[in-house]
Amino acid sequence: MTALDLSTEPGDASRARLAALADVLIPGGSGLPSAGDADVAGQWINRALTANPDLASAVAHALASPGAPEEALRDLRLRQRDVFERFAFAVAGAYFMNPAVRAALGYPGIAPRRLPAAEGEAEYYLEDEILAPVVDRGHIYRRVPA
């Protein structure tokens, strides 16, 4: 099995197949798009495979698996669990990079961003003497003979 060559864009047929396979994993709902609607098979898979080229062989392998999408993935999982997992990881990695998906999941920004702690934030979370019972129980370490 050869790795996907990212210098030659996968053709429309491959992308359609990838979208169909990805939709089996991530059909969407609850305010989230399906993988296909989130353009996993377009720009996001390219970016995912650029960031981790080791995943390309698993994507190529999944694309080459025959049969209806559900069946193809069921078979792949049964026969080559490791390849299935890497394929699913690549699809999920591509999907989560889509800013609309990330926002719908509740993550701020398109990537982790600077959010310095506010003044008094550390104290705020310790309010109502939440540490008092721990302190009141006293030391818990084991004494060591001199």
Partner: protein
Amino acid sequence: MPGLPGGLLRGGLPLREGREAAGKWVGVGSTNDHADVLIVGAGTSAGVAARHLAEAGFKVVCLEQGAWVDPGNLPGNKPEYELAGSKNWHPDPNVRGRREDYPVDHSESDLPVWMYNGVGGSSVLYGGIWARALPSDFRVRTLDGVADDWPLTYEELLPYYQAVEREMAVSGLAGNPAYPPGFEPPQPAAPIHRTGRTMAEGMNRLGWHWWPGTNAIPTVNRGKEGQCVRYGICRMGCPEGAKSSTDVTHLPDAVTLGAKVITRARVARVTLDERGRANGAVYLRDGREHFQSASVVIMAAGGIGSPRLLLMSASGRFPAGLANSSGLVGKRLMLHPYAASVGIYEDDLENWLGPAGEHIGSMQFYESDPSRGFVRGAKWSLLPIAGPLEAAEKWTDPRSLSGEEFWGQGSAARMKSFVRMLQWHVVPEDLPEETNFVSLHPSLTDSDGLPAAKVHYRVSDNTRQIVDFNLARTLEAHEAAGAKKAWVAGRNFMTGHNTGTAKMGDDPATSVVDRFGRTHDVPNLYIIDASVFTTSTAVNPTATICALAKRTASYIASNAREQEVAA
């Protein structure tokens, strides 16, 4: 706070004097390139020692197989961050597969090993969780009748813990009752966030210990080193330069003071003079062989790298490997096979907020309790979850016991629970066994043709029992904290806590280095990295690694006049 004996903090000797003492080491005919002290590696322990010795006036040279990290290349603030963290910035050197990453064959190990090979060493990718060992950790044989006592005590190491805590700008809250009085992190604690608060309420319901996280991650701006801005991706390197890794905290200062860090320099063997004293190292750079001469040699190549290099440095005098008359070089490998549990809660917990780092920790089940059927214990850390891919893995990892299919119908609802997830990591103590060891690979090599390392490691029954017991308790903690669903997300995760392969002890027949890190066999060869741990403790090791490195560096500086060196 007790000071270091004799003002050792700045090298033991006044600045010039240290160098003058070392000046006497240098034999006739030595060149300008000769080092007073050669350090193999420029990682975590190396950084601490290099700065200390450079401050004391010694001419220090570090030979490091990797390069300096360019913060602009770190992935943490880019959309691809989690994918880059699964390849170029993965903590497993075999996955990264960079030129400087020597392969580690783990086909005969229950878990792979983690490390980073470059300036700053594994501290570049560590979580920054800072945990001193406890007094009982140094007395395992006395208290529990297993393994060995360390040849030093908590009290002896205390001033060095305190010194490196200042150097690493450790943040946390004073007064943790799991420690003897006097543990006062120099920087204020980070917020425990909704994550820590939610779990703390559960722990209080159970009457169990917890404490705000202690991390080598500054909460107050230190000028050039910055302040944590909570990206939450510390384990992929800190793009802010805030996390205290030694490429930020120590090595730039050491260089300013005159230390030389030679990068892309892979040490092939440490050499000896006719009298058996270390006199330098042969290294490979750009495919060519070089020699660095030195009066004192310090090994700081990590818990896998140092035994590998000692074994590669076998000679007529030391046929089984340098400094290996005990036969223990590479043996007693301890790895802390991590386990994790997660819970799904009602509310958005903003579980992606840094530092990562621990938000809270617990030592409730740290100390031995024979009624549990095993000895020793574990530390727990409540950690943020860097992003959706990491959260998804809590469901999809083959070792996960979520009991639900993640993909397909319903996956959207499961994804929507990502930010409502809390995770406990369990760090179990791993006791030393000679059957767990590092050897040289018979055929596999690194990019310079040197033998790769091979790890032979099986999780012992005692360790497995510690993990089982503690995982069960973490599930109770999730329940008490209000989780709607909780499960074991995995076990036998790799850790990067690679310890024990050059044991510290008083008896040359049963240990490799003495209480100051000096090898019993070679009077001017020291080891300062994680290899020297007598037992693994159940805490994250970097506090102890740094304290021991500081202690050895102080010892070398203050005993320079008596130090035997190569002719």
